[in-house]
């Protein structure tokens, strides 16, 4: 077989793989963004009627998740799959550091708000502004330290340790011990979220497990959505 035919075949195969992963990426982002927005809007009425602070933090968590996943899919689809070099040359900040900063900021905020929704009752003063500050700071450090993989891993491991500590503390202080399943969902949500961050910051590091991570993350969001729909009676 002539070499140019083999080359053409490989090219076609690569294109099919690219289309496949691109479709998977679009579907994954769509599922998570829709689930998050459904949770946000599904609890709107309950929050408007009650004005409950915990409900506000819970809803904001999913709004932040939706925004973060929007920037995640933007980075993945526009920058990673459709060729970073060409786009980055046109507007390096707009298509380079800015979406990564926004993705990091909103994703860390989402996790912090989730933790805060179960923590705020134990705090005497409203400390949510500290979480905004911490998220912006972590996102900025990651952006300015660009390619330092050790630092990225270290920050994410520290974040995970902090999350595990808060979840464990909240579970121990919980009045109804049967809610292990809720805390387990929160814990898994945080773990898979950090894997999503690593997937963006260190491309190819989780390539072999990507489908598994996407399925597990979507499953967790669908589980939370199911719990919300069941409790709100929303249709």
């Amino acid at each position: 077989m002539p070499y140019h035919n083999i080359g053409r075949g490989v090219g076609r195969m690569m294109q099919e793989v690219l289309i496949g992963t691109l479709s998977m990426e679009i579907l994954y982002s769509f599922v998570i963004i829709v689930c998050s927005l459904m949770i946000y809007f599904g609890t709107k009425e309950l929050y408007e009627l009650s004005g409950h602070k915990g409900l506000k933090y819970f809803r904001m968590t999913f709004l932040f998740f939706a925004v973060a996943y929007f920037f995640r899919s933007f980075i993945k689809i526009v920058i990673v799959y459709l060729g970073k070099q060409e786009i980055a040359l046109v507007a390096p900040i707009l298509f380079g550091k800015l979406p990564i900063f926004l993705f990091m900021y909103f994703s860390i905020m989402a996790i912090f708000y989730l933790l805060y929704s179960v923590l705020y009752k134990k705090l005497k003063h409203d400390r949510i502004h500290l979480f905004h500050l911490a998220s912006a700071l972590i996102a900025a450090i990651i952006i300015f330290m660009g390619g330092n993989l050790v630092l990225i891993l270290l920050i994410n491991i520290l974040l995970l340790i902090f999350i595990v500590y808060v979840v464990y503390l909240s579970y121990n202080q919980s009045k109804k011990k049967k809610t292990l399943n809720l805390y387990m969902i929160y814990f898994l949500l945080s773990v898979f979220w950090i894997l999503n961050i690593l997937d963006i910051l260190i491309p190819n590091v989780l390539q072999g497990f990507q489908l598994l991570i996407y399925l597990a993350s979507s499953g967790i969001f669908l589980m939370i959505l199911y719990k919300v729909v069941k409790k709100t009676g929303a249709n």
Partner: protein
């Protein structure tokens, strides 16, 4: 008797207004079983949230009536409490 939470107190006050169709502020305070300072706080919050409104009666007296939103709160109260408990908010 366990201390009532904020949502429970609002539910109780709205329940009193609903059962009486319209009620004067003083009997409402008496029946709600809370101090007058706390009642004032809840009362203005319920007015702000448009759960209740004050109207003038036949003898030009001030009466408190339930609004549509107040009715909605009473309808959804159980759902709100269940949701808060379920997610430990």
């Amino acid at each position: 008797m366990a201390k009532r939470g904020k949502l429970e107190i609002i539910r109780d006050i709205l329940g009193i207004v609903q059962n009486s169709n319209s009620i004067k502020p003083t009997p409402l305070l008496r029946q709600s079983n809370i101090s007058s300072s706390r009642f004032k706080e809840y009362f203005s919050e319920m007015i702000d949230k448009k759960f209740i409104k004050s109207v003038r009666g036949n003898r030009d007296e001030k009466l408190i009536v339930l609004t549509e939103k107040g009715n909605k709160f009473l309808e959804k109260y159980k759902t709100i409490v269940n949701f808060i408990e379920e997610f430990e908010l």
